[in-house]
Symmetry: C2
Subunit: 336 residues, 2 copies
């Protein structure tokens, strides 16, 4: 700003008038200022901004999981769309379920002066966020699950209902030996498992813990290996409930190696679910709405710091497509 004025041999006020397209500047002066701006390589927007220090550019930060998981990509899309509506940009950082990476990502975003944070929290303790320089006082909304150790707004799906709906659906089709693939002890998959147990108990069914597979990793590969072991048992389950879409993919891969396919209900939808050999029945919420609702809550909290902390729960629905509607002992492999 001062550099431009100095270079053009005019006052700062004149530069301001040129940048703001004021008519009270002679063409010669305008040309000289614009030339100075060119030479200094400034962008007009930056200058306009420096003239109005009260109007900082509005940016929020978001720490999300692996974007190649369509779930996270869709949540991010919803958040960006909601933020853009109110003039906010979104800086995206990926932590991918590593607590230290997450903490560094948060620090990096705070150092960039974001007005607020959207965080898909890792399962680790987030007590550090109540320390100075680590997120304290920064408006924050947790996405998909609460963070342990801190109290913040959270927007999430009704995961207990998801597990219950999936299980009741399989029970209704005659399945009582239901295998469950559970991703590493996350809050969300824990509640989905609880929904499974509640539905089984409600139907007077015993849960065979040998069929509840707690995976050490949330990858498709880990699910494929685990599921293959499950299906190789003499008393293999007649149906599966997979608690994330990556696990659904792994289970589908494992099922290629057995002649009789179990029924399957997955949690979370995915683009090609309808086109698989047997289209996949899922229980899912609207991931774009999750991101949208979280960003909208954050922008409101940025303006009203003293809003009470909220827990916003979005519904899930069953999408029947075929894989979850087969009775036990029917040989799916030969009927498709």
């Amino acid at each position: 700003m001062n550099d431009v004025a100095r270079r053009a041999g005019v006052g700062v006020g004149t530069v301001s008038r040129v940048v703001n397209h004021s008519s009270s500047v002679t063409p010669e002066t305008r040309a000289r200022v614009e030339h100075a701006i060119d030479e200094l390589g400034f962008r007009r927007n930056e200058i306009a901004r420096s003239l109005r220090p009260g109007q900082a550019p509005k940016t929020i930060g978001m720490v999300a999981g692996d974007l190649t998981n369509p779930f996270y990509a869709t949540v991010v899309k919803g958040a960006i769309a909601a933020a853009a509506r109110q003039g906010y940009a979104v800086v995206i950082a990926m932590a991918d379920e590593d607590p230290e990476a997450e903490r560094l990502a948060i620090r990096g975003l705070l150092a960039r002066g974001v007005a607020g944070l959207l965080l898909v929290p890792d399962k680790g303790d987030h007590g550090y966020m109540d320390q100075r320089g680590e997120g304290m006082g920064v408006p924050t909304v947790m996405v998909d699950r609460p963070a342990s150790g801190v109290t913040r707004d959270v927007v999430l799906f009704d995961n207990e209902a998801a597990g219950r709906i999936a299980t009741e659906h399989l029970l209704m089709h005659g399945h009582t030996r239901i295998g469950v693939l559970v991703a590493p002890s996350h809050y969300t998959t824990g509640w989905r498992l609880r929904g499974f147990r509640n539905a089984m108990r409600g139907a007077g069914q015993r849960v065979d813990d040998a069929l509840v597979l707690r995976l050490r990793e949330g990858s498709s590969q880990s699910a494929e290996e685990g599921c293959r072991r499950l299906l190789a048992r003499a008393d293999a389950p007649s149906a599966l409930f997979t608690t994330t879409s990556f696990l659904t993919l792994g289970a589908l891969r494992a099922m290629r190696s057995v002649p009789v396919h179990p029924a399957l209900v997955g949690f979370d939808d995915f683009p090609y679910a309808e086109l698989l050999p047997t289209p996949i029945t899922v229980v899912a919420g609207d991931a774009e709405d999750l991101g949208w609702t979280a960003a909208t809550r954050l922008l409101r909290r940025i303006e009203e710091h003293d809003l009470p902390v909220a827990r916003l729960m979005l519904p899930v629905t069953l999408r029947e497509r075929g894989s979850g509607e087969a009775a036990p002992s029917v040989d799916l492999a030969t009927t498709r």
Copy 2:
């Protein structure tokens, strides 16, 4: 900064020493300064930053397409990972193939003072980027395709080879009546189509233009409708080449309504390609590498403004899985 000093009743230098963990501050003074910081709701990082005005936070902007397209999500993932390696954060804006939205997104990013831009450009003219305040002089790398009207670095796949490889593969399996689904006149799909024509010409085959379907929209739905018309023809093609993964999805949906499925080679891979009734053969490049390479080039250009403009072309490969290896007239629907 001054506010903290005033509130704590100390000098600015003392605040600086507290924030930077200098040992030359008494515990009492430290407590007073920290209390003032708490009260004022500052974040330590912001203060640390204001103390070192030369070290601006490093951020690049990226304008990408719809993140629910796994291709864009994967490109963004690669870009974020490469940027993070060098201490840069990425602000993501979505333009979704709307020229005006793209221009606004670029302006918004520039107003936030990003050090450089990654842009998946719309097909419209980008001459405006050579105007002051619209991107002039800001280090920019185009991703996936060049932008018309401006000269910038571009990182892209070898799209002509993609079309050629897909077509030669179908020709090799005996197909000469090949239907092509082409997304709206983008640079990339145009080159893929050119590759198709070159392969046909190379094999001495005539192209039936009635089988080259230029869609008005790039959506799966538009592809499904178009493909259904194509397959209903008396002289329907025995094979299809779909030039994007959204079009592949639409073609697969359309194929459910016909008894005899054409062979299919798609451009671009997708997570469930292996699990479909007939696993899908695709020609694809590494989307994560595309994002990674573009961000790496941008960071280099940020440091060396006078690098010559480069065109970095990444290879594509054929992934044979079944859908592209059937001969004409074999009834795929009954053999799967």
